[in-house]
């Protein structure tokens, strides 16, 4: 029986101390603060529909960020997700429209309920392939997923010649990207976006995997101390392949939802998703080095990222400045992560000397 102490020490959920509580409630505080700020500053944000919409649009990044969380927990990273989103949207669109030539909104191929699972499966397999390359050749995940970022973008470009593949929608696609209307009374009517519901369900599933299965425990163990995990009998190779496969799977799910929403599969669907998903993970409290954190933090991080984007649009910040704001937030998020873990020595010394006096 493998010793379990090394697994438990990196399994942060078990330990309970004030520092960790603050660190974990930090993201939630930021989310609430942002929410209140936007509520005050933008009158149009005060309707339930607006809030639900932010949630719905957060789903595109949010679903990708689930897989990214798992990968980062193992101490790796998946830079290929934005290309996976575009690639899976292209694959699904080609299967549904029946052509790889840019043209009208048609549905001359296989039914969407068959095409979409195929595209998702292809994404999962490519993700798993990245896991195989990383583990069998012992190359850093950074390089492998960066390479696949390029490969997948190029594959999507080659398949479509750079043009969008348009599809005709049908009830299934409408459903995937649609919403459920809710009528509380005469005046209070809104609709819950299906992508939002799907995102929450997927988060719950991933949480169950991470907390209540061996795969989840091994994921944390590998991130905490890979050597110790391997010595404890954890099958590192299989865990990593599964984790990168999950990242590919989830990025593809996001890709087909984007395709359904826009009724088009294009190589550039998913631009900027990589950086934003990593930011969501880090803001949510998962350490970039792995071994600590969890999916619900990422959900908060994804909402924060989307709230920021929504705020930029509501407050009519000039579009050219959007990238500055988002970049600053990402850098701040990573800086906070590093400071929180006490890895900035001069800050640590400063606070220690203050505490002493």
């Amino acid at each position: 029986m493998a010793t379990t102490f090394s697994v438990e020490s990196s399994h942060d959920a078990r330990r309970f101390n004030v520092g960790r509580l603050l660190a974990n409630s930090g993201p939630l505080l930021i989310l609430v603060l942002l929410f209140v700020l936007l509520f005050i500053a933008a009158p149009s944000f005060r309707r339930p529909m607006s809030i639900l919409l932010v949630g719905g649009q957060a789903a595109f990044i949010g679903i990708v960020a689930i897989g990214q969380t798992a990968v980062i927990l193992t101490g790796g990273i998946d830079l290929s997700v934005e290309a996976m989103v575009g690639f899976s949207s292209v694959v699904a669109a080609i299967l549904i429209s029946g052509t790889n030539q840019s043209g009208g909104q048609i549905a001359g191929g296989i039914p969407s309920w068959a095409a979409i699972p195929i595209a998702i499966l292809v994404g999962a397999l490519i993700g798993a392939l990245q896991g195989v390359v990383i583990t069998s050749l012992n190359i850093s995940p950074f390089i492998v997923t960066l390479g696949f970022l390029s490969i997948l973008t190029g594959a999507a470009l080659t398949l479509t010649n750079g043009s969008p593949i348009n599809i005709k929608n049908d009830p299934f696609i409408d459903f995937l990207s649609g919403s459920i209307p809710v009528e509380l009374n005469e005046t209070t009517r809104f609709a819950i976006p299906i992508p939002l519901l799907l995102m929450v369900v997927l988060y719950a599933v991933m949480w169950l995997i991470m907390r209540h299965t061996k795969l989840g425990r091994y994921t944390y163990a590998i991130g905490g101390n890979e050597t110790a995990a391997r010595l404890s009998g954890v099958n590192v190779t299989r865990t990593k392949i599964l984790v990168y496969g999950m990242s590919g799977l989830l990025a593809s799910i996001s890709g087909v939802i984007v395709m359904g929403y826009l009724q088009t599969g294009a190589y550039q669907n998913g631009t900027d998703y990589t950086l934003t998903s990593v930011a969501a993970v880090v803001i949510g409290g998962t350490a970039l080095a792995g071994g600590a954190g969890g999916v619900w933090g990422t959900l908060i991080g994804a909402f924060i990222m989307q709230l920021v984007r929504a705020a930029l649009l509501y407050l009519e910040v000039p579009p050219n400045a959007h990238k500055i704001v988002i970049g600053v937030i990402i850098v701040l998020a990573v800086a906070l992560d590093v400071i929180r873990r006490g890895e900035v020595s001069w800050l640590r010394r400063m606070f220690r000397s203050h505490a002493a006096s």
Binding site: S44, G104, I139, G154, G162, Y261, Y267
Partner: protein, 388 residues
Amino acid sequence: MRKFSLLSFVLLIAAIALSSTGVQASQNAQATMAATMSGTKAMGKSHYVAFLPPAFTSPFHVAMADGAKARAAELGWKIDVQAPASEGDFAGQVALVQQLLEKGVEAVSANPIQVEAMVTGVKAANAKNVPFFMHNFITPIKEGKVASYIGYDQWGGAEKLGAYTCQLLAKKYNTTAAAAKGKVYILLGIDSIFSHRRTQGYKAGLAACPAVTVVGEQTAEWLREKGANVATAALQKTPDIDVFYGNSDEMAIGAALAADKLGLKINKDFFAIAIDGNKPTLDLIQQGKFTATLGVDPTRMGVTVIDAMNDLFNGKTLPQFLLTPSTIVDSTNINDYIAGKTWSGAVSGSAEEDNGKATVGSAGAATMAATMSGTKAIAATMAATATK
């Protein structure tokens, strides 16, 4: 040294090499084969020409390239269609021009992403005595010699759509066109002469109904996804936007899809109009998901480019500015447009400058005619919606 660091190095180089390859359209083989098969139709000698859209990310440019390729195949020419992967890569486009000149093309036509950058390409072509055409672009460049500018009057076309908007709102709110009121949201494109001319022309057309207000304008970078995002936020801020106008079809389609997802009904709660006349837009008009587009018939524009090159090779003098027609297309005249009945052919015209004023010689008569047909079209659209 780690065992496989060499492999990771190779992988990295391969990744970089892959990412720096521009999109290559392997059309040459197809065109040559088509030419061989239709060899009997070819008149005159074969030529080798280049056609450069800004990218293939918009169905508009795909259609133009398809039109050019089909015509080139008919004439038995070899045509090279190349473009960078995104409509922002102006340096990449100039590099492609230079590569194609090295390959020995006899004529080049480009839709420049950024005209100041393209001057380099134009001068390189001038130095080799290769005629340089510009398509979808009728603004004279400051340096270098261009054989002919082929395009449509953007201000004029957008102005027609502005007048059409007045008609749409007049019918919705039961007023006259001049007294029409309502809210319009404009989706700009990447900031360029294209977005300037179209936006300014549209607003000039809207002046016919001064009570109509533009409640916002944001760039959606010619892309459907950005159009959807911008429209969603806009509708949250102003839920009663009546008209989404996009400087290009794709952005307005994104807006229409987003509004639909928010529970608004097209042609009842809101209208979506734009410029291009692309195939997906026509499909959506026929499926009842889009209101109207300014049909500039990109496929026939592409054919016009090749015909202009052919005229030049045969020694004819070309007008410096060849204006192609545009017409508002909605559910009433869509079949005529597809069949080419609204295509009145390219005519000699004058330049379009980024000067905030209407294009000189842009037929005021054409605007009136369009408004007239627009009126009939809107009445029909309203009737069709009412009977649903």
